[in-house]
Symmetry: C2
Subunit: 193 residues, 2 copies
Amino acid sequence: MNARRRSDVRTETIIKATLDLAREVGYAKLSIEAVAARACVGKDTIYRRWSSKAMLFLDAVLTSSSPSLEHRDTGDIMADLREVMVQAVDLLARPPWGPLYRDLIGEAQHNPEVAAALNERFIQPQTADTLARFRTAQEQGRLAPDFDLDLAFEILSGPLYYRLLITQQPMTPAYLDRVLHAVFVGMEPRPQP
Amino acid sequence: MNARRRSDVRTETIIKATLDLAREVGYAKLSIEAVAARACVGKDTIYRRWSSKAMLFLDAVLTSSSPSLEHRDTGDIMADLREVMVQAVDLLARPPWGPLYRDLIGEAQHNPEVAAALNERFIQPQTADTLARFRTAQEQGRLAPDFDLDLAFEILSGPLYYRLLITQQPMTPAYLDRVLHAVFVGMEPRPQP
């Protein structure tokens, strides 16, 4: 086993210990000391790679949950959006990842380094992929030609984050369908045919 | 000064000390001990009224920011929604309340008592008031007759919470106008007249 491979194995061990402990004692009580003991490494080994408990936790959650939230293009924009939303909710709004992801966002509220890394590693790639899918749909005439595409991702994912972080109401596929339908048709009264 | 009045004054002093300290040292480093010292009361006095630092902080933030987020009915649903959204964003997304409100929501991610109290005292009354305003607008024919009113509040406020908690992008009145417009007209292509 060469040095690179040994380092990878050690990283995996530390990440697994972090997630196991976070699930057992909660993020608030997680400590670098306990992770080091569980992973059988020195604290220095951890601090060489991660600047803080918060950044270790972020890396552990994002590396391990690794959702593939890329949109297919089947020609049906609503179906393609729905497919990714169902996957995201199944992964990020339920145990085991739901509570860990909520802890991560909780930490981001007072830790700008975590907030920036969360956006860069997780939010921005999803936003870009969703925007590309919306752009194709608009070119194909499946979205209103003047719809504000730069808002599309936050209008669709905003209600889901609101449920996850504020009301904690369930997010069933039927709920996602209601959100998609409401955002697609809008609130405006239509002239009757 | 009677006993009731003395108790009110003491409560105000404790709440002011809590907010002052939270702004000075941040919520994470806030302690009941420090609040008691700043307010010149015993810790027991605080614990008789608040079960934890988190519940004291929640009470302090919600009592003192006390936004009046009630909708007027001018007959123009978009203008009435916009008025409340501008107020909410001015209050809750900027210093001094912005960071404190974000800390409160951060705490709610792993503290079910805080999450429940936040919903009961702050989110549910706003939701009910918004729903009532939407219902009137629908009866007046200013919203699509089949629009899913139970979703209206989370579709409108979801994008704002998403900016506040996830991307921390600015929320200007121009941004609120874009959200209102997008949600009002929807994504769907319209038949050209």
